[in-house]
Symmetry: C2
Subunit: 178 residues, 2 copies
């Protein structure tokens, strides 16, 4: 039964990222996963429940292990984020969640998922920045991967990631030097 739930949740995430949010219905996911609609409804009564189950899978993605060095950790975390966009189409997940945000419950789910997603980058940057600078740095660093993915369906090269990290680290070094 745990296996069934996991199978269906995985299929739901695949449907979401390959066919878009319109396709995430009980009927379509049941068909794609080879289970009955009744089974799906018994686990997840609403479409929001089904979406939440799919998105829960993302919480189990491999996490980058911090070393304590700002530059190394930022490059490592951005490279991991980029890989997740390629492997799991996180850009489409993000777009689907943004689309659903007109629904209050979905908006809360989006906030939870995205806060989790940014937790590590926030922790890394919080050692160098605080206040408005910290918020700016988090959005800027996230944007290096998120913006090209969402706007053009591409991911940044290693050179671009490195250049972005240099810009942020330079600022952090100057700041700590007063």
């Amino acid at each position: 039964m745990i296996r069934t739930r996991a199978d269906i949740a995985r299929t739901a995430l695949d449907v979401l990222t390959t066919e878009g949010s319109d396709a995430l219905t009980h009927a379509h996911v049941a068909d794609a996963a080879g289970y009955s609609k009744t089974t799906l409804y018994s686990y997840w009564p609403s479409r929001l429940d089904l979406a939440a189950a799919a998105l829960d899978i993302l919480a189990d993605m491999p996490q980058y292990e911090r070393t304590g060095d700002l530059r190394t950790d930022l490059v490592g975390q951005l490279t991991t984020f980029r890989q997740a966009v390629v492997d799991h189409r996180l850009d489409r997940v993000l777009a689907a969640m943004a689309q659903w945000a007109t629904v209050e419950a979905m908006s809360q789910l989006r906030e939870k998922i995205n806060s989790q997603g940014q937790r590590l980058i926030r922790a890394i940057l919080a050692e160098a920045f605080d206040g408005p600078e910290l918020e700016a740095a988090i959005s800027m660093v996230s944007g290096v991967v998120a913006c090209p993915a969402l706007m053009f369906g591409t991911v940044p090269d290693d050179d671009v990631i490195k250049a972005a990290v240099d810009i942020v680290v330079t600022s952090a070094v100057l700041k700590s030097a007063g």
Copy 2:
């Protein structure tokens, strides 16, 4: 007739940003705009044509006027971008376009719209950066507004915009100093 087209395109954009991309159908837009479906189909035979007409309206949005000063222009352009997110829900437009990107023709339309959208920020940053640094800076600066909007449905405060611009300008100044 030009007025009719403009009316319907404006309604289509409203539908897209308030109800999401699923709602952007000939039937629903015709109903919302108070025109017949036949009229809509005569102007825009496909859903892609209808989407393109809606998105064309964004090309006429007020543009920030550059002064030539890097810091002033970045703050000005980001403030204009933030206002467009608030007034025109550019975040939802971006999310809708990202969702449609599985369709090749839609993917091309998205690339055109987003390239136009980034043209001014690219021109401003190209005076201080080039190569991978330029690409990094464009994504980072765009991310200051785009990331919170897409991930949390919020926009950055003036303090956060200013902090982000400081990070980029510091890097540009150091670079020009060799």
